[in-house]
Symmetry: C2
Subunit: 219 residues, 2 copies
DNA sequence: GAATATGATATATTTTAACATATCAGAACA
DNA sequence: TGTTCTGATATGTTAAAATATATCATATTC
């Protein structure tokens, strides 16, 4: 896929999954065939603007041109308005928990191999914190969707860490750099989810937060 | 053009004009030929997403998927961040003033023909108010860009009004309905420009308003 | 008035999105 | 275990975006 479009396409896919819709369900709400939706989401095509807008609107989204300098503020507004993703199937949640636990375990093992690595500790701390959030009742599928993109590079790095430990080598600098990035990703994910907790009634609502269920009266 | 894409395309064109760029200048900053930009802006093509993003980024814009219920809040943020459009050429401003004066004069004449029509008075009041804003030093090119889309239907309605006056007929209900829409458009334009006045230093700045010249260090 | 700039349009070619239709492999469910 | 669901892939066809290049009519500038 073209790198320039992948952000938008990823958001579109995440929105579809957050609404608990399959590609076939989305296809039924639009004029876009399921096979084409699959190709779009996999990055195999440079979609037309009219098609993007149609798919977006079927997901209660609008496309907006935003001045670059306003992007952080707009992202804050969007994040505040985002509904909690739907846990579509129990299997998803169970899978998310299993994958999470495996990842946390693997990070702990890596720390045993390189106890002095501060970045590994950071990763573990973030994951531990996420585990606490999960114990507090946070739905894990949202975490799953967010964390998934950080898992793959982390698995790579953990593999490199194990390999380095076996050959009594120092960690390659590239692995350290990537590890920093992954640590930062998990920290951001943790912060996003912590701030988005809907079960904290004492937190003051943002002034521009919208009422529940507005504009949802459609197919 | 497809109706669904015209909003985005109009915003793209307005952003280009607001930056004082010609189609050729924009073409030089991207890989998109001037003739294609013309076709895009005229609505003659259903642009690919990668092309849209490339053009947007050349204009310091990012494309964003926004939940529909967050759209009003996002638009508020975007409007606060929008720079005052550049008056590129003195001829533009002079032309805008001439067209504006002609329109105001035509509305006055129409009022003389139908003095009881409250909607005509509303249109005239809005235009008069815009004239006051112009006298206060507001750049007219911004007004020109906003008002242009209301001029054409208004000219049609003024023609129908003159025709009705000539045949001593009542105004057709359709003309009255369209006139209401145009009156509302001008009222909104007036309000937008009045609230956007940058020469009112006593007004409190929105909390999320961004600093000047952030992120502009590029070609 | 001449030169320059601008947005729009035309022609021809290449590439690809969009679509219909079918089917696959793997996961989930009963 | 059988059925259903899901995302992905394949084949073939049509329509149109993207591009290069040229040129036009109009407006602006000097």
């Amino acid at each position: 896929m073209s790198y320039v479009t992948e952000d938008i396409i990823r958001e579109l896919k995440q929105a579809r999954e957050a609404k608990g819709l399959s590609q076939r369900a989305l296809s039924q709400r639009t004029h876009v065939p399921q096979s084409h939706i699959s190709k779009i989401e996999s990055g195999g095509t440079d979609i037309r603007l009219s098609s993007l807008i149609e798919l977006a609107r079927a997901l209660d989204l609008e496309l907006k041109l935003v001045p670059r300098k306003a992007l952080p503020a707009v992202e804050t507004v969007v994040r505040s308005a985002a509904p909690t993703p739907v846990a579509t199937r129990p299997a998803d949640t169970a899978k998310a928990v299993r994958e999470f636990e495996k990842t946390l375990e693997a990070v702990k093992e890596a720390r045993a191999l390189f106890p002095d690595q501060a970045t590994l500790k950071q990763v573990q701390d973030s994951l531990q914190s996420l585990k606490s959030l999960q114990s507090a009742g946070r739905d894990f599928t949202a975490l799953f969707a967010e964390a998934r993109k950080a898992y793959e590079p982390l698995q790579k790095q953990l593999a490199q860490i194990r390999e380095a430990a076996e050959t009594v080598k120092a960690l390659p600098p590239e692995t350290l750099r990537s590890l920093h990035q992954v640590a930062e990703s998990f920290r951001q994910i943790r912060n996003q989810i912590a701030h988005g907790l809907p079960t904290a009634p004492s937190l003051p609502r943002p002034a521009y937060q919208l009422g529940e269920d507005e504009g949802d009266a459609h197919g």
